[in-house]
Amino acid sequence: MNASDDATPAPRVLATIIDGPLTREREVDALASHGWTHGSASRGCLIGAMLRFEGVVRRREPYARPGEGVGGATDERDLLALDYNTYDPMAERELLALARSVAERHGLIALSALHSRGRVHVGELSFVLIVESAHRAEGLAAMTDFIDRLKQDVPIWKRPVWR
């Protein structure tokens, strides 16, 4: 047994905004361009839990009835796509700050957050969050925490494109 085995290294963190839907290929490219991949083998087998969250554009979205404005009574309508509008470069910077703060607070081994910019069609991915932790409890808590705070602090807006 080696003392360095017990040392907790700083969490590996990645946050990036990508044009268009998040495909597996774009995700792999983004991870690789930051020089690392997710997975147990690369972390000395300290990982006990790997979590992945994918946000998918749904076919139905709440629709503000004409005349009632934003915040009025809503219905659901069929969607073609969502247009994600980001305030650049603040959005990516805040995404990274959030990733660092959540990874540190929950003692994670690694966290990657990827978000789309621009048009994402129904059924496509607009958001991917990957969390690696020693145990499941902190991984689940971190995932919930990240997603809640994403909606508060990261300047990304979506605009529905109706069918």
Binding site: Y87, M90, R93, L150, V154, W157
Partner: protein
């Protein structure tokens, strides 16, 4: 003097523009710009945080209520000010 405030999302849709201007005196704080937005742009009310507790982004970073803002156009040294509420990522 004037401060130009970038707006996004539902606020931009409601105002049919991506920026609004408020009249201020001297070098206002974030709190004073928020109060001016409330007074001068009532149509944005649904998207505005309370002047006392709200924050704006100043030069692309969140700034608390007491933070001073340089008025004037960006290309004349003014701060870039943005209203960031009701975000919807994820």
């Amino acid at each position: 003097m004037q401060v130009e405030v970038l707006i996004f999302g539902g606020a931009a849709l409601a105002a049919k523009t991506d920026r609004v201007t408020v009249e201020v005196s001297g070098a206002p704080s974030v709190r004073e710009v928020l109060a001016a937005l409330h007074a001068q742009h009532p149509a944005l009310k649904f998207a505005l945080p309370p002047p006392e507790t709200g924050r704006l982004a100043v030069n692309q970073a969140f700034a608390a209520g007491s933070h001073p803002i340089k008025p004037g156009p960006l290309d004349q040294g003014g701060d870039e000010v943005a209203l960031i509420t009701l975000v919807g990522g994820g």
